[in-house]
C-alpha cells in the first residue's frame, strides 16, 4: 500500500510538473507576441530606472547624473541614432542590434555589457522600453532592414592580402582621421565632434579590444559598411554600389585594420622581467636590442580618487620593456597618444573636452597648451614585507621615488620624491637619463639609471632577484590632462633577472648519481648477505 501510494504521488508530481512546464512554455512563447501587440513596457521601465537612467537620464535624453563624467557621452535615445547597427547609414537599428549593445556593452566606453547582470526577460523588456523614447520606432515605414554582408573571403591574413587592404586604407581616406599608422592621429583628428558637438577621438586601430562594436574582422567590416551614426565615421557602402572597390577589397581593409592590433587582447602580467644583457645598455627607444625583449602591458584608468578627478583619460595603457647590465637599468615605456602635445591644432579639442565634463571646482578651466607627461614610480627602498607606499604617489610619511618625463624636455627626466598626489620635490644629481621618440601617434621613452644609488635614503637602489614595486602615470596634454587629471595604474613589479648559475643544473645530476650509487651499494650489500646465509 505504502509503496503504491508513493508511486501514485510520483505520478501526480510528474503530471503537475509537466503541466507547469507546458504552461511556462506557453507563457514564454506567448511573451514576445504580447509585447509586440500590447507594447507593455512597464516592466522595461522598472529595469531602465534602476540600471540605465543614471547615465541615460529619466527621459532617455542621455542626460543622467553620470553623463557629464564621460566621453563619449551616454546615448541620447530620443533621436534613435545608434552607432552599432547592421543597417544602412541613417536607418534604425534592428532589435538584434540593440540587444547586442545591451548584452556586450560598447568597447572603450563606459557602457558595460548586461548579459550576465540582467535576465533575458529584463533585457528584452528594457529594449522595448528604450524604443519608446523615439517616435521613429513607431513609424512602420522605417522598419530596419539589415544589410547583406556576405562572408569574409579567404586568404585575408597573407602579406599580399594585407597589402591590398593597406592600399585601400589609403585610397578611401581612412588615414585622414585614423592616421598613417592607424593610431587615430590623422590630420582631421583634432576637429572631430559628434552630432551634439561633443569631442570625439578617431579610434586607435591598434586597440581592437576597445572598438565600440567589437574587434573581429567581421565587426570591422560591418562598421565600414554601416558607418557609426551620430559620429564622423561614415558608411562606405556607396563605394560598393559605385564600383569604387569590391566587397573583397573592403574586407581586405577590415583585415588590414584588424592586423594592426595584437591577435589577442593584452593580458596583464604582474611582473616585468628585465633580463641581463651583456652588450651595451640600449639608451635609444628604437635600439634593435629591444626587439628581443618581452613587452608587458599595463592598463591605465582615470584618477578619480583625489580632486580634481579625471574621468576621461586618453592614455589607455602602457607597454613596458626593461633590461639591465651589471651596473645599469633601462626601462622602455611605450604608449599611444594621438597628439604630440603641446600642439595648437588640438586646442579646440581641449576646450570641447573641458566643456563636456563637469569640473570638480565648479568653474570651468580655460583650455591651455599642456604637455604630455609620463611618470614611473618606485618605493624609496625595496620593501621587505608586503607593505608598499600608497600607490597614488605616496604620502607625507611614506614618500615614493619617481622618474618624470615631460614632452617639452624630451631628452631629460626629472627624478624626485612624491609625497602625495600634489607634492613632488625633485632631487639634485639623480643620474636618470631619458630619450624619447614621437612616431605617428606613439610615444616611446627610455629611462636609464645606474643600479647603485648615489643616495640610498631617497633614491631606490636596484637589486637583482627582488620584486621591486613599480607604477605608471600618464598625461595627454591635448586631452586637457595636467596636475591631478591623469591616467594611473596600480602597483606592479619589476624583477631584474639574474642568469641561472651552472650549479643549478649540475647539482641535481650529482645528487641523482650519488643516490643511485648509494642505492646500488645498499642492494649489493643485501645480496652479499643473502648469498652468505644460503651458503651457511
Amino acid at each position: 500500500m505504502e509503496a503504491e501510494d508513493g508511486r501514485g504521488q510520483q505520478v501526480r508530481a510528474v503530471w503537475r510538473f509537466g503541466g507547469l512546464a507546458v504552461s511556462v512554455g506557453i507563457l514564454l512563447t506567448a511573451q514576445p507576441l504580447n509585447r509586440l501587440t500590447a507594447q507593455d513596457t512597464t516592466a522595461g521601465r522598472v529595469v531602465y530606472v534602476k540600471w540605465c537612467a543614471g547615465c541615460h537620464g529619466d527621459n532617455g535624453a542621455g542626460d543622467g547624473e553620470g553623463a557629464h563624467r564621460m566621453i563619449p557621452p551616454p546615448r541620447d535615445f530620443t533621436g534613435a541614432i545608434y552607432q552599432i547597427r547592421t543597417t544602412a547609414s541613417g536607418q534604425l537599428p534592428t532589435d538584434a542590434d540593440l540587444m547586442r549593445s545591451i548584452d556586450e556593452g560598447l568597447g572603450g566606453t563606459a557602457m558595460p555589457g548586461w548579459k550576465s547582470r540582467l535576465s533575458d526577460r529584463q533585457r528584452h523588456d528594457v529594449l522595448a522600453y528604450i524604443k519608446t523614447f523615439s517616435t521613429f520606432f513607431a513609424d512602420t515605414s522605417l522598419r530596419p532592414k539589415p544589410l547583406t554582408f556576405g562572408k569574409e573571403p579567404g586568404g585575408g591574413t597573407g602579406a599580399d592580402a594585407l597589402k591590398v587592404g593597406r592600399q585601400f586604407y589609403d585610397s578611401i581616406g581612412c588615414r585622414k582621421c585614423h592616421g598613417d599608422q592607424g593610431r587615430g592621429d590623422g590630420p582631421s583628428a583634432p576637429t572631430l565632434k559628434d552630432d551634439a558637438g561633443h569631442p570625439m577621438f578617431a579610434a586607435d586601430l591598434h586597440e581592437s579590444w576597445r572598438f565600440n562594436g567589437g574587434g573581429t574582422v567581421g565587426d570591422i567590416y560591418h562598421r565600414l559598411r554601416t558607418g557609426l551614426d551620430g559620429t564622423p565615421m561614415p558608411s562606405f557602402s556607396d563605394l560598393l554600389d559605385q564600383k569604387f572597390l569590391t566587397e573583397t577589397e573592403l574586407w581586405r581593409v577590415a583585415e588590414y585594420v584588424r592586423s594592426l592590433s595584437p591577435a589577442e587582447a593584452p593580458v596583464v602580467r604582474d611582473v616585468i622581467h628585465a633580463p641581463l644583457v651583456t652588450r651595451a645598455l640600449p639608451h635609444s627607444p628604437d635600439d634593435s636590442a629591444w626587439t628581443a625583449v618581452d613587452a608587458y602591458w599595463f592598463p591605465l584608468v582615470g584618477q578619480v580618487i583625489r580632486k580634481s578627478r579625471w574621468f576621461s583619460p586618453a592614455v589607455s595603457g602602457v607597454w613596458v620593456k626593461a633590461v639591465h647590465t651589471a651596473d645599469s637599468i633601462a626601462l622602455r615605456v611605450v604608449w599611444d597618444d594621438r597628439s604630440q602635445s603641446p600642439d595648437t591644432a588640438w586646442l579646440g579639442h581641449v576646450g570641447r573636452v573641458l566643456a563636456a565634463l563637469d569640473p570638480d571646482e565648479g568653474t570651468q578651466e580655460p583650455p591651455a597648451l599642456w604637455p604630455d607627461q609620463l611618470a614611473v614610480q618606485f618605493p624609496v627602498a625595496i620593501p621587505t614585507g608586503m607593505e608598499r607606499p600608497y600607490f597614488l604617489m605616496g604620502s607625507t610619511s611614506a614618500p615614493v621615488y619617481q622618474w618624470r618625463w615631460v614632452s617639452t624636455a624630451r631628452t631629460a627626466a626629472v627624478a624626485g620624491l612624491a609625497r602625495g598626489i600634489d607634492r613632488f620635490d625633485s632631487l639634485p644629481s639623480t643620474g636618470v637619463g631619458a630619450q624619447s621618440v614621437y612616431d605617428h601617434g606613439q610615444w616611446r621613452v627610455v629611462f636609464t639609471r645606474a643600479l647603485a644609488s648615489p643616495d640610498t635614503a631617497s633614491q631606490l637602489p636596484f637589486r637583482t632577484g627582488r620584486a621591486i614595486p613599480v607604477a605608471f602615470f600618464a598625461w595627454d596634454g591635448s586631452n586637457g590632462e595636467h596636475g591631478t587629471r591623469m591616467a594611473i595604474s596600480t602597483w606592479y613589479f619589476l624583477a631584474l633577472d639574474v642568469p641561472v648559475p651552472a650549479r643549478v643544473f649540475i647539482s641535481p645530476v650529482i645528487a641523482m648519481v650519488l643516490t643511485l650509487g648509494l642505492g646500488m651499494l645498499v642492494v649489493w650489500r643485501a645480496q652479499q648477505k643473502t648469498t652468505f646465509r644460503r651458503k651457511q
Partner: protein, 254 residues
C-alpha cells in the same frame, strides 16, 4: 584597377573644372531648380534682406592638408558664415512660409534633383532648399575624401563617404525640417544648411539680398527668414490675388 579608372575620371574632371578661367571663387553649382507645381498665377512675395552693424569676419580656412583644394583658389579661401553684398545686403538667408498654408494642401515634389557640389573643399551652394521626396544629389568635384553627414532631428540622418572626384550620392528627406545641417568631418570648416519643406514656397537670398517666392494662393502667411549666424525673423504678409507684396528683413550683426 578600379582605383586607376577613378583617378583617370577624377583627373579629367579636374581638368574641366580647372580650365574655366578665373578661379578667385569656385563657381557655384547650377542654381537650385525652381520648385515645380507652382501655379503661374497667384501672388508673389519679394524682398530684400539687410543687416545693421559690422559683419563678423569669416575665418580663413587652412587648406594646407589638401593641396588639390588649395590649388583651386587664387586668394586664401574663407568660411561663408556671413556673406554680404553691397549696401549691407545679406545672402544665404533661407526664406519660407512657416504658417498660413492650408493644412491639407499637398504639393508634388519635382523629380529634378537639388544638387550640392563639393568643390574646392567647400559646399556649393552654402544654403539651399529642397522639397520632401525631391532627390538630393551630392557630388564630389574634389579628388579628396569627403564624408557628407546630415544632422537631422525630424528626418533620419546619414553619413556617407565619397573618397574620389566624380562620385555621386542621392538621398531624399521624408519630413519638413528647417534646417538640416550638412557637414564634412574630414574638413571641419565645411558646412551647408538645407531647408526641407513640404511645399514649394521658399527661396534663398542672393548676393544682393533679394529673394522672391512665387505662386502663393490668396491667404495670410507668416514668412520666416533664417540665417545661420543672425537667427530668425518673421513677418506676416497677406496675399489677395496675383499681386506682388514686399517682405523685407533687417538682421542685427552682433
Amino acid at each position: 584597377m578600379n582605383g586607376r579608372i577613378f583617378s583617370v575620371v577624377g583627373g579629367m574632371f579636374l581638368l574641366t573644372v580647372c580650365s574655366k578661367g578665373d578661379r578667385s571663387a569656385v563657381q557655384a553649382a547650377p542654381p537650385a531648380p525652381q520648385p515645380a507645381a507652382v501655379s503661374a498665377d497667384g501672388g508673389t512675395i519679394t524682398g530684400k534682406i539687410k543687416f545693421t552693424g559690422t559683419a563678423p569676419r569669416n575665418p580663413a580656412i587652412d587648406m594646407s592638408e589638401e593641396a588639390a583644394c588649395k590649388a583651386k583658389y587664387k586668394t586664401s579661401p574663407t568660411e561663408e558664415n556671413v556673406v554680404a553684398g553691397p549696401a549691407n545686403a545679406l545672402a544665404n538667408v533661407f526664406v519660407y512660409v512657416s504658417a498660413g498654408l492650408p493644412a491639407n494642401a499637398k504639393y508634388q515634389a519635382p523629380s529634378t534633383p537639388v544638387t550640392l557640389d563639393q568643390n574646392g573643399c567647400r559646399y556649393h551652394p552654402h544654403v539651399l532648399g529642397i522639397m520632401v521626396g525631391q532627390p538630393f544629389e551630392i557630388i564630389n568635384s574634389d579628388p579628396v575624401l569627403h564624408n557628407i553627414k546630415a544632422i537631422a532631428k525630424k528626418n533620419r540622418p546619414f553619413n556617407v563617404s565619397q573618397p574620389s572626384a566624380g562620385m555621386k550620392t542621392t538621398r531624399t528627406f521624408s519630413t519638413a525640417e528647417v534646417m538640416v545641417n550638412l557637414e564634412c568631418n574630414v574638413h571641419g570648416w565645411m558646412k551647408a544648411f538645407l531647408g526641407v519643406r513640404s511645399d514649394p514656397f521658399y527661396a534663398v537670398s542672393g548676393e544682393d539680398g533679394s529673394f522672391s517666392i512665387k505662386g502663393l494662393p490668396p491667404g495670410t502667411y507668416t514668412i520666416e527668414a533664417w540665417h545661420e549666424k543672425f537667427g530668425t525673423q518673421t513677418v506676416t504678409v497677406t496675399i489677395a490675388g496675383t499681386e506682388s507684396k514686399p517682405a523685407n528683413f533687417t538682421f542685427a550683426a552682433h
